[in-house]
C-alpha cells in the first residue's frame, strides 16, 4: 500500500486548518452575510442619521465631525471586537469539549499550534471581509475623509486578533461555558458602550479619562477614527498599536500553551 503521497508535509500545515474552517463557513455562510451587510446600514441610519439629527441641532459638530461620521469608525471597531469574541469562545469550547473536532485534528498530521494559527488566520480572514464591507458602507455614507480610510479593514483585523487570541486561549482552558455569558455582559457590552464609542473621551470627567485608556476597545476605536479621518497623532497611535499588538501576542502564546495542554498532554 503506497502512502507516501498522503503524508504531504510540503503544504504549511496550518493552512489545512484554515481551509477546514473556510469549508465549514462555506456551508453555513448565508445568514451571516446578510447581517454583515445590513447591520451597519441599520446602525448608521438609526444612530448616525437619527441621533445625529439631535446632536446637530443642540451641539453642532463632535470633534469637528458630524455625529454620523464620528460614530461610523467605532462601528467597525465594535463589530470586529465582537467577531473576535463570538468566533472564539463557544466555537473553541465546542471544538475541544463537545464536538471535539480539535481532538480529531491532532490525530492527523496537525500539531496544536497549526490548529491555533489556522483558527486565528481564519477569524482574521473573516474580520478582513467584514472590514471591507463596513468600509464600503461607511464610504457610502460619506464617512471616509482620507485615503487612509482604506486601511480600515486592516485595523479591523488587528482588533479581531487582539480579542480572538486571548479568548481562544481562555476557551481552550475552561471546562464549561458558565463564564462566557458573564464575559459578554460585563466585558464586551460595557466596552461597546464606554470606549468613547458614541461620544468623545472628553465627555468624561477628567479623573475618569485615564481609566478609559485601560479599556482595550478604546484603542481600537481610536485607531479606526484615525484611519477614517486620516489623522494619526504619533504617540497615541504607537500606544494604541502597542496595546492591541500585545494582546495579540500574549493571547497567541497563552493559546499555544492552553491548546497544547488541552489536546496533547
Amino acid at each position: 500500500m503506497s502512502v507516501s503521497d498522503d503524508v504531504g508535509l510540503g503544504w504549511p500545515r496550518w493552512r489545512r486548518s484554515w481551509w477546514y474552517h473556510a469549508t465549514y463557513y462555506a456551508q453555513t455562510w448565508r445568514g451571516s452575510v446578510a447581517s454583515t451587510v445590513l447591520f451597519p446600514i441599520f446602525y448608521l441610519v438609526a444612530l448616525g442619521v437619527g441621533v445625529g439629527h439631535l446632536v446637530a441641532k443642540h451641539h453642532g459638530l463632535v470633534d469637528g465631525q458630524t455625529y454620523l461620521h464620528f460614530i461610523a469608525p467605532s462601528l467597525l471597531a465594535t463589530t470586529t471586537m465582537q467577531l473576535g469574541e463570538s468566533e472564539s469562545l463557544w466555537p473553541v469550547l465546542a471544538a475541544v469539549k463537545w464536538v471535539r473536532s480539535y481532538h480529531a485534528a491532532v490525530a492527523s498530521p496537525l500539531e496544536p499550534r497549526d490548529i491555533l494559527v489556522g483558527k486565528l488566520s481564519w477569524v482574521t480572514t473573516r474580520a478582513f471581509g467584514t472590514g471591507v464591507v463596513y468600509t464600503i458602507v461607511i464610504a457610502a455614507f460619506g464617512g471616509l475623509q482620507s485615503w487612509w480610510g482604506l486601511t480600515l479593514p486592516l485595523i479591523g483585523v488587528l482588533i479581531t486578533l487582539a480579542f480572538a487570541a486571548p479568548f481562544v486561549a481562555y476557551a481552550a482552558a475552561v471546562q464549561s461555558d458558565a463564564s462566557f455569558v458573564a464575559i459578554y455582559r460585563f466585558a464586551i457590552i460595557p466596552m461597546f458602550l464606554f470606549s468613547a464609542t458614541f461620544y468623545p473621551v472628553s465627555a468624561y470627567p477628567g479623573y475618569l479619562r485615564p481609566l478609559v485608556q485601560f479599556v482595550p476597545l478604546y484603542h481600537g476605536v481610536a485607531l479606526a477614527r484615525s484611519a477614517a479621518f486620516g489623522h494619526w497623532p504619533l504617540l497615541a497611535t504607537v500606544g494604541h498599536l502597542t496595546v492591541l499588538g500585545s494582546m495579540s501576542v500574549v493571547g497567541f502564546l497563552w493559546g499555544r500553551w492552553s491548546l497544547q495542554r488541552r489536546l496533547v498532554d
Partner: protein, 308 residues
C-alpha cells in the same frame, strides 16, 4: 523476518501525581490485530494516545513505523488512522463532506479525495446517506463513518479505542465484519476494549491491562489455557450468602470464585463435577457449564470482573 510496526519499552505516562501507564512493554507486528483488554481506568486510553503519536510518553522508548514520535509526530500520524472513543464528527455537515474535509488535513488532493470518499462510503455501507447531515445518522452509522474517516489517508495502522461501546448487538456485528475486511487487506489493527467477546473475536494477540500495567500477554487461546481451566461451572444456591459455600465446594474444583450472585468453579469437565456435587447433596438452585473465556482470565489475574 518479523516486521514490527510498533515497539514500546518501559513506556510510562504520568499526570502530576497519577501514574496512568506504568512501564509497559509490548511489540506489534505488521498485519496482526492487537488488543488491549482491561476495565475502564486501566490505562488503555492513555496508552492509545501515546501510540497514536498524540501525547508524549513521560518516560520509556516508543518506536512507531520505525520513527520516533517525539520528533516525527506529524509524519507518523500521516500514516495512522485513529478511531477515538467518542465520535468527533461535524454533525451539521454532510457525511461525504466529513470525509473530504478530514482528508484535507493530510494534504490529499481534492480529486483523489472525491474518489476515495466514494469508495469509503461504500465500505462503510453509507453510500445512500452520502448527502445527509451526520446528525441524522444512527449511532452505528456514525461509528462506521468515524472508521471510514480514519481510513481516508490509507493508514498502515488503524487504532480503535473502544470501537463498539454503546452499540446494539446488530451494529456491533456489522462493525466487526468491516474490521475483519480491513484485516484481510493487511491493515494492522490496534484495539482497546473492555468487552471480552470483542477481544476474543477480533484480536490475534492481546495484553491484559490493570492499574496501568500489563498483567498478561498472549493469544486469547494461550491466555485461557494458561490462566484458566477448560470449563467453568456456574452455580446458584438458594442462600443469602454464597460465601458460605466456598469451603465446601473447594475440594471439587481447581479454583473457586465467589461473585455476589453466583459461584464459579474452575474445572476440566463441568458436567462430571456437577454429578459429583449432586452425589454429595450439594444441589444448586441452577447450574450452567461453559467454556472458559477471557473474562475468567481477567478475574483470575485481578480478582475483579471486567464490566462492573
Amino acid at each position: 523476518m518479523v516486521d514490527l510496526v510498533l515497539t514500546a519499552r518501559e513506556l510510562s505516562k504520568r499526570f502530576n501525581e497519577i501514574t496512568a501507564v506504568d512501564r509497559v512493554s509490548f511489540t506489534i507486528e505488521r498485519g496482526e490485530s492487537f488488543g488491549f483488554l482491561g476495565p475502564n481506568g486501566a490505562g488503555k486510553t492513555s496508552t492509545m494516545r501515546m501510540i497514536s503519536a498524540v501525547s508524549q510518553p513521560t518516560s520509556g522508548e516508543l518506536t512507531i513505523l520505525g520513527l520516533d514520535p517525539r520528533t516525527d509526530g506529524p509524519e507518523i500520524r500521516g500514516r495512522l488512522g485513529v478511531v477515538p472513543q467518542e465520535d468527533t464528527l461535524e454533525l451539521e455537515l454532510s457525511v461525504r463532506l466529513n470525509l473530504e474535509m478530514f482528508g484535507r488535513y493530510f494534504d490529499i488532493p481534492r480529486s483523489t479525495l472525491r474518489e476515495r470518499a466514494t469508495e469509503l462510503l461504500a465500505f462503510a455501507q453509507l453510500s445512500e446517506r452520502a448527502d445527509d447531515r451526520v446528525e441524522e445518522l444512527s449511532g452505528g452509522m456514525k461509528r462506521r463513518l468515524t472508521i471510514a474517516r480514519a481510513l481516508v489517508n490509507r493508514p498502515e495502522i488503524l487504532i480503535l479505542d473502544e470501537p463498539t461501546t454503546g452499540l446494539d448487538p446488530q451494529a456491533r456485528h456489522l462493525l466487526w465484519d468491516r474490521l475483519y475486511r480491513l484485516k484481510r487487506e493487511g491493515v494492522t489493527l490496534i484495539i482497546t476494549t473492555h468487552y471480552m467477546d470483542e477481544a476474543e473475536q477480533l484480536c490475534d494477540r492481546l495484553v491484559v491491562m490493570d492499574h496501568g500495567t500489563i498483567v498478561a500477554t498472549g493469544t486469547p487461546r494461550e491466555l485461557i489455557a494458561h490462566h484458566s481451566t477448560r470449563e467453568v461451572l456456574e452455580l446458584r444456591f438458594d442462600t443469602d450468602s454464597h460465601e458460605d459455600f466456598h469451603a465446601r465446594l473447594a475440594p471439587f474444583a481447581q479454583r473457586v470464585e465467589v461473585l455476589p450472585d453466583r459461584i464459579l468453579l474452575y474445572v476440566d469437565e463441568g458436567d462430571d463435577t456437577l454429578r459429583q456435587l449432586h452425589a454429595e447433596r450439594l444441589t444448586p438452585m441452577s447450574s450452567f457449564v461453559r467454556r472458559s473465556s477471557l473474562e475468567d482470565v481477567f478475574l483470575r489475574l485481578t480478582g475483579r470482573t471486567l464490566v462492573d
